[in-house]
Amino acid sequence: MSTGLIFDIKKYAINDGPGIRLTVFFKGCNLSCQWCHNPESMSPKIQKMYNAKKCIGALSCVDNCPNDALKMTSKGIVTDYNSCNLCGKCAEVCPTKAFEMLGATILISDLIKKIDNEAIFFDQSGGGVTFSGGEPLMHSNYLLEALKECGKRMYHRVVDTTAFASLETVLEVAKNTELFLIDLKVMNSEKHKEFTGVSNEKILSNITELAKTDCEIIFRIPLIKGVNTSEDNIRETASFMNSLEGNRKMINLLPYHSVAENKLVKLGKAADFVEFETPIGNEINNIISQFKSFGITASVGG
C-alpha cells in the first residue's frame, strides 16, 4: 500500500470546489511560487512549526529533546537544525501545542475512514473530496488509490494542481477525477520560471491534453500586482483558455494575501518572505471585465 505525506485534512472546506468538502493537503511541491499561501506545503519532508505566541516557557521540550537541539532564548525556543532530527518529541511534550509537527503518512484505509465520516455532508451538498497541497500529483500512486476508493463510493472528486507532472500521470488521474482546479499563474514562460522556479510549457501542454478529456476544469489565478495583472497577461490567459477543447471558460481570481509571513515565521524561515502587492477593488473589476470581453467568466474567490 502506498503512502503519501499529508500535512492537513480540513473539514467543512467551502472554497475548494462544489458543495461542502473535505480537503486533503499533500506535502511537497515541485514549484516554489514566491507568493505561496501555504509555504508549509512546499517541502516534501516532515517539518516542525514553532509558534512563539503559544509558548509559555514550560521548557518540557528542552528537557525532553533527545538531541539537545533546543535552547530557550529571549525570542522563545530556538531549534538547532544541525542537531534536530525531527523526531517530534518536542511537539509530543509541549503542553500548549507551541510545537507542531507538519506532515504525516496516513494509510489509505485511515484516510478513507476520515472521508467516509463526512459523507453525509457530501450527500446533502453535492460536495466531495478535494486533493490539494502542495502538489497532489507528486504523490500519484497514493493519490490514484485514494481517488479510486472515493470513486467506488461515488464521492465527487476534485484535484487542485499545478498540472506540472508527466502527461501520463495527469491523464491517469483524469480518469478518476471529476473536476480539476488548475492555476494559470502567469503566461509568460520566463516570468513563470522567475517566480515559480519552473517554466510553464509542460503545464500548458498538459492542460491542452487534459482539456480533451471529459473532466471539468476551473482555472485559478492568484492575482499579484506586477506579476500577472497586466492587460497582456489577462489577454494571453484568456486566449489560452479559448484555445482549449471543450467549454473551459471559468476562472477564479484569488487576490494575493500576505498570510504566508505568519507561517514562515513559525517555520523559522522568516527571511524567505517576499511581500507582493494585492490589486485593489477597481483593478479586480477591470480584470473581470477584460476576461468578460474574451468570453471568460471570472469571479473572485472559489
Binding site: 480540513k10 472554497n15 501555504n38 453525509i120 494575501h257 515565521v265
Partner: protein, 817 residues
Amino acid sequence: MKTVHKNKKPQRPGAAQGNFYKPILNAIGPGMNERIQKLRKLSFEAEPSLSIERALIQTEFYKYNYGKYSIPVLRSLNFLEICKQKTIYLGDGELIVGERGPKPKAVPTFPELTCHSVEDFNVLNTREMQRYTISQQDIDIYKNEVIPYWSGKTMRERIFSHVPKEWSSAYEAGLFTEFMEQRAPGHTALDGKIYKCGMVDFKKRIQEEIKKLDFLNDFEATDKKEQLDGMMISCDAVILFAERHADLAEELSLKESDPARIKELQKIAEVCRRVPAKAPRTFYEAIQMYWFVHLGTITELNGWDAMNPGHFDQHLAPFYEKEIAEGTLTRNEAKELLSCFWIKVNNHPAPPKVGITAKESGTYNDFTNINIGGVKQDGSDGVSEVSYIMLEIVEELHLLQPGNSVHVSSKTPDRFLKEACKVIRQGHGYPSIFNPDIYIPEMLRQGKSLEDARQGGCSGCIEVGAFGKEAYILTGYLNVPKIIEITLNNGINPLSGKQVSIETGDPRNFKSYEELYEAFKKQLNYIVNQKILVSNYIDRMFAKYSPATFLSVVIDDCISKGKDYYNSGPRYNTNYIQCTGLGTVTDSLAALKKHVFEDKTVSMDAILNAVSKNFEGEEILRQAILNKTPFYGNDENYADAIALQVYNDLFEVIDGKPNTKGESFHLNMLSTTCHVYFGKVMGATPNGRLAHKSISDGTSPSHGADTNGPSAVIKSLTKIDQVKSGGTLLNQRFLPSLLKRDEDLMKLSHLVRSYFALGGHHIQFNIVDTATLIAAQENPEDYKDLLVRMAGYSDYFNDMNADLQQEVIDRTENESF
C-alpha cells in the same frame, strides 16, 4: 468615582440589535414605511419602566373580596377588574392595538406571586444593565399600599417557607434553579383554535359543560363548576378589554383631523368590536385576535416565557390567501399589519425579578418565539407567502422581540431555508433553525398523537410542546457541571465549605474511572430528586391557589375536563428539567479519565489541588489538559462516548419520574443564559476551565473545545439520541467571511440539512462581530473554534498573528452584504 464596567464578553449578536445590518438610511430608522419606522423607533427608544397600576387594582380588589369567592372565581374576577380599570393605550399611527401596561414597555408587577421590595425598585431603577425606571412617588405608594397587604402571602414566600433544608442548601449552592419561585408556570403556545372560535363560542362550550356536570355522582363536580365559572368570567374580561379599545378608537376618531387616520381609527374600532368576542374574518382581525389573547394571558398572570402564537404563519395563511384572491388585501398591507404586531411584542419586556437576582444582569426578553415554516397538521409543508413576509420583517426590523425560528423539515423548500440563511447572515443571531422531523418523534415518544405533535413546535428557546394542548412546565435548570464539582468534593460545595449533598467518597481513593462515574451518578440522582420534590410541591400550590382561568379557555382540554391549566386540564402535562453544561461535564470527565486513570500522568490529588486553587501556579498542567485532552465536539469517540453516557444517564434519572398530574418529567437540554450564572457559582473544573467562568450551554461544545470545524461538531452532537429529549441546542459561531458569497449561503443551508438528516433538533448561528473578535484576541482559549477560511488558505483566528487578526477584524467591520 464612577466605575465603568467594560463588558468584555460580547452579548449574543441578537441582543446587540444586529451588528452587520446596515439599516435603510433615513432619519427615523428601519421599517417598510414611515408608520412602521416611527412605531419601531418609539418601541426601540422607549425606556422600560415599571407600572404599579395592576398591583394597585389587584390589592384593592383582594382587600374587599378575598374569601368571598372560590379561588378560580376570585382569580377571574380579579382579571376582570384589571381589564375594566387599567389604562387603555392607543398610540399614534398604530393599527394593532393593546398594551399590558399603560404605555409601551411599561411593565406591571404581580404581587400575588412575588412582591418587589423598595430595595428591589431602587436596584432596578439604577442598575446599568436591564434597568426598569420607576418614580419615587410610585415607590412610596407601593410601600404604603401594596407591600403591607401582600407581605407573607405571596406565592414565593409560601413556597420558600415550605421547602426542605436539603433543597435549600442545594439551591443556594447553585445546583439548580427554580422557575416558579418568581413567576407562574407559563410557557405556552397556541394552536389554531382562536382563529375559528371567538370568546362567545368558548362561553357556549363552557356553559354546555356546566350543564353536563353531575353533582350527585362526580365528586369533583363542584370544583369543576367553580373552574368553569371562572373561565366564563375570563372570557367576558377580554371582550370588555377589547371593547374599551374600540371605545377609545371611536373617541379619538372624533377628535382627529386627518381623514386617513379617522378611517384607520374607525377600522380599529370595528376590529376590536369583532375580536376576540367572535372569530376573526380577515388577516387584520386574526392578528388582533391573537394579540388580545396574548395580552389577556400575560395580564392574568406572569407566566414564565410569556406566550407564543405557535405556527403563526400557518394560522394566518388562510386569511391572507383568501383576501389576496378577493382583492381585499395587498401584500404590503399584510406586511404592514404584521410589522405592527412585531413591534407590539417588542413593547413588552419581561417583568423583572425580585431579590438578589435583580443585581445580576437579566434580559428584557420575554421569549415570545414565532415559529415560521415547518409542517402542517396533515404533515404537508407549512411554508407560505406569509412565512416569507415574516422573514422580511425579521430582517428589516431586527428587534429583540419577538424571537423567531424557522422550521425546516425534509419537505421544506430550499428557497425558504436560503432566505432564512440570508437573514442569519445579517448577524442578529436569529432566526434559529429547528427540525420538525426530529421534534415530532420527540413528542410521539412522550405520548402525543401524530396530529397534535405536528401542530406542536418550539416555544421560548428550544423546548418542544404540543401547541394549544399542553402545559409543558419548565421547572428550572440543572447545573450538571456543579454535580461533578460536588462529586469531586464528596458532597461539599467547595465555594462555601458546606455539605450540600450526600457523601460518595473521597475521589482520591477511587481506583478507576468507573468508580468516579458511579459516584457522579449517585450525586445526580440525589440532586434531581431534591429538585423534583419541590417542583411537585410548587405545582400543587399553583393548581390550588393560582389557577389561570383565562389561559385555560384556549388550551384543550381544560373546558371539557373542567380543570385548570395548572391542574391537569390540558390534554398533555409535562414537567421538564433543563440540563446545562454537557460540554463542561464531558470534558472534565474526559480529562480525569485520560490523565488520571489511563495515562496516569497526573494524580487525582494533584488535579484536585490545582482545581481548588483555580490553577494558580499550575498553568503548565492546565495547558496540558486544554491541549492534550480529547474534548467533546470534534467527532472523536473518546469524548463523544462520555457525552453519550452522561446524556443517557440524565435521561434515565429524569425521564418518566411522575409529576403531580399523572404524567411525567422529561429531559431537556436547554440553558438560555443560565450557564453564565451557573459558571459564576462554580470553582475551576478539571477541563481547565477557570473559576466563575461560564460553563458550556445545553449541548454545544465548551467554548474553544471544538477545533475541527462545524461538521465535526455536528457529528459529535448527533451521537446522542436527541429524540429522547424535549430539545437540545447547538450554537455555532461563524466568521462573516464563511458566509460571503451566495454559494456560501447554500453551503450553510446544506450544513443545516446534514445536521437535521443526522437527527439534530436545533441549530443557531452567531455571526461574530468585531467585539467578539477583539474578545478572542484577549481570551484566545475561549475562542479556539473561530475558523478563518479563504480560498487556498485556512486557519484558526487564534493561530494568526496580531497583524492578520487585525486585518480579519477590519474586514469584519467593513464587510456588509
